[in-house]
Amino acid sequence: MKKRLISFLVATVAAVSLVVPSAIAADLTDVGFLDQAQLASLPVFQRAQGQLAQYQSQLRSQYDGQYRAAKTDADKQRVAMAYQQAMSDKQRELIGPLYARAQMAIANVADSKHLSIVVDKRIVVYGGQDITKDVISLVTSSKAITPPATAAPSSEIGFVDQTALETAQKVKDAADQLAKYQADQQKVYGEKLKGVKGDVEKQQIIADYNKAMQDKRNQLLTPLIDQTKSATQTIAKSKNLLLVIDRADVVYGGTDITQDVQNALGK
């Protein structure tokens, strides 16, 4: 009896050891993608974009005069900010409700297909589930769309908001220094280009300019990029993520590790 029990236990353990790794290692099938460009080309979006473009054109002619008339840099900045604000308000008014409906449709379709993440089509090289048709069909239907009952399941694909990371003071400082250096180099190499007629000589000047810029970029930005990559890699590993992508490429779901990366970089 004892021997049978041991055999049973051994057999069970063996069966579990065969099943469990394959269950853990099941391939990811919950990755969907959306062709956002196709969604944006829907007549309803096109109409709203057209109205926005028309508004922008009117607004621009109105603010151009004010900008030209502005005497100080502070006045110019005030005019530019007022223009940006007016544009944002109009965009929210025209595109906001459409965007909200599209987001709701994406969440519904993703939920019905048990997707943990939906990314933009641009970054999908192969595979994944294309949900573009389903989303378009739901967006263009006349029925009201309600939010799905459950939130997106946890995903082994994480994302980082690169724009949030770029607001760090040291990144801003490096970017400012690089922009200043670029402006200076443009003057220096621009002067060298003046009057040069031969293509070979011209190409050499451009190559030198590119090299100067690349060297400066490496000097200023590469250490920051490496630091960010390393922090992202460490956080992703600790959270058992397989890949991390940019937030700009995520349409729905995914695991947001931006705050963790920011905290790690701030230490």
């Binding site: 990755v31 151009d64 090289v125 003057k187 992508i245």
Partner: protein, 420 residues
């Protein structure tokens, strides 16, 4: 090629696609693969050419004279007018063509339905169609007139400001040159007098050094030196006073000339703009007056034929809008470039303009097309390899990858083999 594939597949065979840290997911560092594409050198060359134009656009320009600014402003306005006329004529011709097309299609549809086109007012339909198009065109022209007027006035204000600033700068330069000349003359006179009186001054100072000189004689020598100093100073002061007077007169003359020149040039700009605005007003007025009421049909249109005519109308309207949009886009691109040239003329940093902007656009298009071609080819190869290796998803643009499989090197082997 075969060897490369074998090498790549050899590599693939060692990958456990379903391992817990891979789970059927892979990624590609597309930028890295692009560098190994056979067409990468061509792409880099196009990028360099684009960079060269952008760099040249940042060059500081030689300051233009007021006359040059005025001439170039006039030239840009002429170019704008030509582009505008060309677009207007193209739109008018397009309206005519489509009105004729619709008329012909309507006549054919009516005849096919056994109905006399004239009796159901097909000719009138054409007129009505032309009427609608003309109304729409006139409405657009009326709206455009106001915008045009505003843009001409704004451009004039900028041009007048630039001309006024340039002429004032030239006047300042003239005055400064005259002041410097006078100062030089006064220094020269002072030096000349000092040299002229030097022997006498030295002789008198030598006498002063004689300790045996009695006080009365010493006083006399000192007063002689003082007299020489006064004489020199009086001559220099006289010249200075003369110069001050001449300078006042010259300042008044330059100011008068500058104001006259500013007035002349701004009047020319105003006259030219007023003529242009007036011409536009006349054209818009004529367009509005040319509208007439459509003729009335004498027989009702059978429902089936009405449906066919509606379809023809919708189809042609859609085609017309596509063609008209193209003309409008071309005009808009020209207008944008001319506006940028205008801003550049008045000192704004707007990047490449004119022929350089056209070349830049052409290079950018070729660059984008080549890049797309390379990406499509790489993606196609990536799909094939991913499918052969059994991956479920392959992504590009990955920020970090503690798991998954990096397909980049396999793809580089494959892409490099495209040379062979």
């Amino acid at each position: 090629m075969a060897l490369a594939c074998a090498a790549a597949l050899g590599g693939c065979a060692r990958v456990d696609v379903h391992a817990p840290n891979v789970r059927g997911i892979a990624y590609v560092r597309m930028d890295e693969v692009m560098k190994h594409h056979p067409l990468h050198a061509q792409l880099a060359q196009l990028q360099d050419s684009i960079a060269a134009i952008n760099l040249e656009a940042t060059l500081p320009h030689e300051p233009l004279s007021a006359a040059q600014i005025a001439a170039q402003t006039k030239d840009l306005k002429a170019q704008f007018k030509t582009a505008e006329d060309r677009a207007g004529k193209a739109i008018a011709a397009l309206q005519q063509t489509y009105a004729q097309k619709e008329h012909d299609a309507d006549v054919a549809a009516a005849k096919a339905a056994g109905v006399d086109p004239a009796a159901i007012g097909i000719g009138a339909a054409m007129s009505a169609q032309s009427q609608a198009q003309a109304e729409s065109a006139a409405q657009a022209a009326a709206q455009g007139y106001v915008t045009y007027q505003q843009s001409v006035v704004a451009q004039d204000a900028e041009a007048m400001k630039a001309i006024s600033a340039q002429l004032s700068k030239q006047a300042d330069q003239k005055l400064r040159a005259r002041v410097e000349q006078y100062q030089q003359d006064e220094s020269d006179l002072s030096l000349r007098l000092a040299q002229q009186d030097a022997p006498e001054r030295i002789a008198l100072k030598t006498k002063l050094n004689n300790l045996a000189l009695d006080p009365a004689a010493r006083k006399s020598v000192q007063s002689q030196i003082s007299a020489i100093d006064k004489k020199e100073s009086a001559q220099v002061s006289a010249l200075h006073a003369q110069h001050e007077k001449a300078l006042d007169a010259y300042r008044a003359q330059v100011a008068k000339e500058t104001n006259a020149e500013i007035a002349k040039q701004t009047a020319a700009i105003r006259d030219e703009s007023a003529a242009k605005i007036n011409a536009r007003r006349v054209a818009v007025g004529a367009q509005l007056r040319s509208l007439g009421g459509p003729p009335v049909p004498t027989q009702s249109i059978p429902p089936q034929l009405a449906k066919s005519l509606g379809q023809i109308h919708q189809q042609l309207i859609a085609q017309y809008q596509t063609d008209a949009q193209k003309i409008a886009s071309d005009f808009s691109a020209t207008q944008d470039d001319l506006n940028r040239q205008f801003e550049a003329l008045h000192g704004a940093d707007v990047g490449a303009t004119g022929a350089a902007a056209k070349e830049l656009k052409d290079l950018q298009q070729r660059h984008d097309a080549l890049q797309q071609q390379m990406i499509a080819q790489i993606q196609s190869e990536a799909k094939r390899i991913a499918s052969e290796m059994g991956f479920s998803v392959v992504l590009d643009s990955v920020d970090a990858a503690p798991g998954g499989y990096d397909l980049t090197n396999d793809l580089i082997h494959d892409v490099e083999s495209l040379h062979e």
